[in-house]
């Protein structure tokens, strides 16, 4: 029985649509990440689940029961906003015990539940401190403990790591998932950081302007994205304009600018239909002549990303491709101006119908 279910839920504010006919399920114990740019409706979605907003149309159900009219207090869905919303006038322990006390537990029960949660996030030692005395990372853990202690079955995290430094986020995102999994709670974690979403989600949902663009496991969304926007969002790629050509058996060809022919997986497009092909940056190799597709070009830019280097290649036909090389080490293999051959396999080519509003619009992260 799915813990949370949205059926055709829409939400508008003063005639402006924030969510448009959103339908999805979250399974019991699942860790769902909702990924999308600012304004995509992800916070609205979270607040609808929390009961802080009422849907304009559609039904929200918990365990099969519609909850549209249920007040937040009864939903057992703890909402943790981006700024944590710790009560500044209460100590850490009082903050965490707030939930159980509000639900009618005795003081001793509430305190023991609070201590259990604090031990889980390893902050029992700071229980008499006030929120303002704690660092950002610690405040985040207190907010988490507060949600866990409140007997919630559902954790709603709004950019839980957004207020933290980049390096801290790298460490804490895994710890966050670990703690949630240990308690067996279902979690909906909203973020605009794709690395974060990809690395902690059981399933990932991509929102754009109030609509679901894709919904699946990180691997599926990465390997077979539903569209250009998703493909671009979930992992960098080069997108090239072309025209569909012949199909034979399990392979097809696409003709790019300047007559460059690319072998692709078979597709059902008609000949001469305009298409966009996408090749992931990590799936291209430079100077590997065994690849099924080989295109000549010249290195225009090199970008050092720490664990990898990204080469921006200007192909001879004028298009631009990217190649991300791991394990190169300190010295770059190729320099600006070097002539290279970009190689990639047929199976690594993504094919999309040409978008009606043009490629630029699809690549805009808005």
């Amino acid at each position: 029985m799915p813990t949370v279910s949205f059926i055709n839920v829409s939400k508008s504010f003063d005639g402006v649509s924030a969510l448009d006919r959103v339908t999805f399920d979250v399974d019991d114990g699942e860790y769902l990440c909702v990924l999308g740019p600012t304004g995509s409706g992800k916070t609205t979605l979270l607040r609808l689940v929390a009961g802080l907003l009422k849907p304009s149309t559609g039904t929200i159900s918990f365990d099969g029961e519609p909850v549209n009219g249920m007040i937040s207090q009864n939903r057992n869905a703890a909402y943790v906003p981006q700024q944590y919303a710790l009560f500044p006038h209460l100590t850490v322990l009082e903050n965490v015990a707030f939930g159980p006390l509000a639900r009618g537990r005795t003081e001793s029960e509430a305190l023991s539940m609070a201590m259990k949660s604090l031990e889980l996030v390893r902050l029992a030692g700071r229980r008499t401190a006030f929120p303002k005395e704690l660092s950002g990372g610690m405040q985040q853990r207190v907010a988490l403990a507060r949600g866990l202690a409140s007997e919630a079955r559902l954790l709603l995290l709004d950019e839980p790591l957004g207020a933290l430094d980049a390096r801290l986020r790298l460490d804490l995102r895994h710890k966050l998932r670990q703690i949630v999994k240990e308690t067996g709670l279902t979690a909906i974690h909203v973020t605009h950081d794709r690395d974060e979403a990809m690395s902690v989600a059981d399933r990932i949902m991509i929102l754009r302007q109030g609509r679901i663009q894709d919904y699946g496991t990180p691997k599926r969304v990465y390997d077979r994205p539903s569209g250009i926007f998703v493909a671009n969002l979930v992992g960098g790629a080069a997108f090239l304009e072309g025209v569909a050509e012949a199909t034979s058996g399990d392979s097809s060809t696409v003709r790019l600018r300047g007559g460059v022919i690319v072998k692709t997986p078979s597709h059902l497009l008609t000949t001469n239909e305009p298409v966009i092909i996408g090749v992931r940056k990590e799936r291209t190799r430079l100077a590997d002549y065994n690849a099924e597709n080989l295109i000549e070009g010249e290195i225009r830019e090199t970008r050092f990303l720490g664990n990898s280097r990204e080469y921006v290649v200007r192909l001879d036909n004028g298009d631009t491709m990217y190649s991300r090389q791991f394990q190169e080490g300190k010295n770059e293999r190729f320099r600006i101006g070097d002539k290279v051959t970009v190689g990639f396999d047929r199976s690594d080519v993504l094919i999309f119908a040409y978008p009606p509003q043009g490629l630029g619009r699809e690549l805009e992260i808005v």
Binding site: L52, S72, L93, A102, E107, R127, S150, E151, A152
Partner: protein, 560 residues
């Protein structure tokens, strides 16, 4: 966890269960909606309606609204003067108050904190005392006049009124602007300077335009105070008449029609002027930016800054601080002359004095209590938009009404309303009048404070299982309790201070300030030392209120 602080109870106590029951009740929309509706109904029926209805009823029942030509011209002169004085004084207050507020905020230190507290003094001195003090300072032979060697430097009249209004509106500007400067993101100014603007240019072209709405609000507040003030104005007016003085004189002379017409005209004109300023000013386009870099750079030097600071402090001291504090001298002298022992013993005029003081305090306490109970739900309503937004907007606009309407005119209206409606004893009419006049202060202070609490705190609490009443008790109230206390003290002092409406309503009862007006003007015969001491005692008690207010806010900020 020390077990000594935890009561080891296995089941909820009776108090807890009761509290829980009430919390549960608060989650039902019917309960909360009724509470807000009752509060709004109280507001509309008890506060708003009598304020305007009284006049309107009179309008409809008076046989004729015609005034004789001389009375008519007297009235129109008086009303015009009210507005002229108000606009001039408010503008001067802005020009003088902003630099001082700037100094207080930008040069935080021991001296500026002292300055900050001193700037509040005119706030706390009852305006009647202020009027008397100013009269003594500028007008009588023992004040400035003696330094200059004239009999009377500035005699009672329009100029003295302006000096008075300048002094008591000054702290309004400083208070508002200090708050604005504290909240202002200095980054804007710094950004302007990194782009090459000298500090003077940066303030002129960036900071002040951004703060325009706040400056406007401060201006309107000062204007409202000027138009509304009665007690002190009467004291310093001499034979001159502005709007409020005219109304008072007309009332004393029994010219009811003139009173009604003048009150109505003042109310309507006030509303019109306010609406005009509020609507036009935001639309005023800033013209193309003109800069004189060389000149403005000179104005940005340290010496220029120091001169500016020096002058603003000078203006403050000469035109505001000294005139306010001057009352201390005659009061202290009066103690020496033996008047004090008489006062304590309650002899002669002092009997009436003490019963007036008692009356003032009882009314103030009652008004404060009613305001807290009836105003709190309305404050929450406005801050959090609890009912639909149209209702909130209407209530929000109406809350300021009692401040805008000149208090004497308000009192006239209230008097007619309650006089005609029911046989409400004078005492209770007074209490209602004071409640009406101070209502806005409390509601505004509370709603600003509640708005300062991030809604996320309440939302999180809801999802953790806390019902609305519990959230209010455990979160909202603890976080705003200092504002609640300071709001209450403000209401209390304002009530003790109230003269205008009180004199319109009171027939037999006299509150302390009203009594003192009689003492000062000579309507009641008292000696000079008695006068000075009476005023001094009133000032002293208000001073204690200021100290308490300061202590409360200091503790509040320290806890943060």
């Amino acid at each position: 966890m020390q077990s000594t602080t935890v009561r080891d109870n296995r089941s909820p106590s009776i108090v807890q269960r009761l509290g829980f029951g009430f919390d549960r009740l608060s989650s039902r929309p019917i309960a909360t909606r009724s509470m807000y509706s009752i509060a709004i109904a109280f507001f509309l029926v008890i506060i708003v309606t009598p304020a305007i209805a009284g006049i309107l009823v009179q309008l409809l029942t008076l046989p004729s609204l015609a005034l004789s030509a001389p009375v008519m011209s007297r009235m129109s002169d008086a009303v015009s003067w009210s507005f002229i004085i108000g606009l001039i004084v408010s503008s001067l207050d802005i020009l003088a108050g902003i630099p001082l507020a700037w100094l207080i905020v930008r040069k935080r230190g021991r001296w500026t904190t002292l300055l900050d507290s001193l700037a509040d003094i005119p706030f706390v001195i009852p305006t009647v005392a202020l009027g008397f003090s100013i009269l003594e300072f500028w007008s009588s032979s023992s004040g400035m006049s003696s330094i200059i060697g004239v009999g009377s430097l500035i005699s009672p009249g329009s100029l003295l009124i302006m000096l008075l209004h300048f002094a008591f509106s000054y702290p309004v500007i400083v208070r508002v602007m200090v708050g604005e400067f504290l909240n202002y993101r200095e980054t804007y100014e710094v950004a302007a300077r990194t782009l090459g603007a000298s500090s003077f240019t940066a303030v002129r072209t960036v900071t002040l335009p951004i703060l325009r709405p706040a400056i406007l609000a401060a201006f309107l507040l000062a204007l409202a105070r000027s138009l509304s003030e009665t007690g002190a104005t009467i004291v310093v007016a001499g034979t001159f008449e502005n709007g409020t003085v005219f109304i008072k004189n007309a009332r004393d002379a029994g010219l009811t029609t003139a009173v009604v017409v003048a009150s109505l005209v003042m109310i309507v004109l006030s509303l019109v002027v306010f609406a005009l300023i509020k609507v036009i000013s935001p639309r005023l386009k800033l013209g193309p930016m003109r800069v004189w870099p060389g000149f403005e750079k000179k104005l940005s030097t340290h010496s220029a800054e120091h001169s500016r600071d020096f002058f603003s402090i000078l203006v403050f001291v000469i035109f505001v601080l000294l005139p306010c504090l001057f009352i201390a001298f005659p009061a202290i002298q009066a103690i020496g002359s033996g008047t004090a022992t008489e006062a304590v013993a309650g002899l002669g005029p002092w009997k009436a004095f003490w019963s007036s003081m008692l009356l003032s305090y009882v009314i103030a306490i009652l008004a404060t209590g009613v305001n807290i109970v009836s105003g709190l739900p309305v404050a929450v309503l406005i801050a959090r938009n609890r009912l639909n937004s149209r209702v909130t907007k209407i209530v929000d606009a109406l809350v300021d009404l009692p401040i805008i309407v000149p208090s004497l005119a308000l009192g006239v209206s209230l008097n007619f309303f309650w006089g005609n409606i029911g046989a409400l004893p004078e005492f209770w009419v007074l209490v209602l009048a004071h409640t009406t006049i101070t209502y806005s202060y409390f509601v505004r202070a509370m709603s600003a404070s509640i708005q300062g609490i991030s809604p996320e705190l309440e939302e999180s609490a809801r999802t953790l299982g806390a019902m609305p009443l519990r959230i209010f008790r455990k979160i909202t109230l603890p976080l705003t309790k200092y504002s609640l206390l300071s709001g209450a003290v403000l209401v209390f002092t304002r009530s003790v201070d109230e003269t205008g409406a009180t004199s319109a309503v009171a027939k037999t009862l006299k509150t302390a300030p009203v009594l003192l007006v009689d003492w000062i003007k000579g309507t009641v015969n008292v000696t000079a030392p008695e006068r000075a001491l009476g005023v001094g005692i009133l000032v002293l008690t208000s001073f204690f209120a200021l100290v308490i207010l300061r202590l409360i806010t200091l503790r509040g900020t320290k806890k943060e």
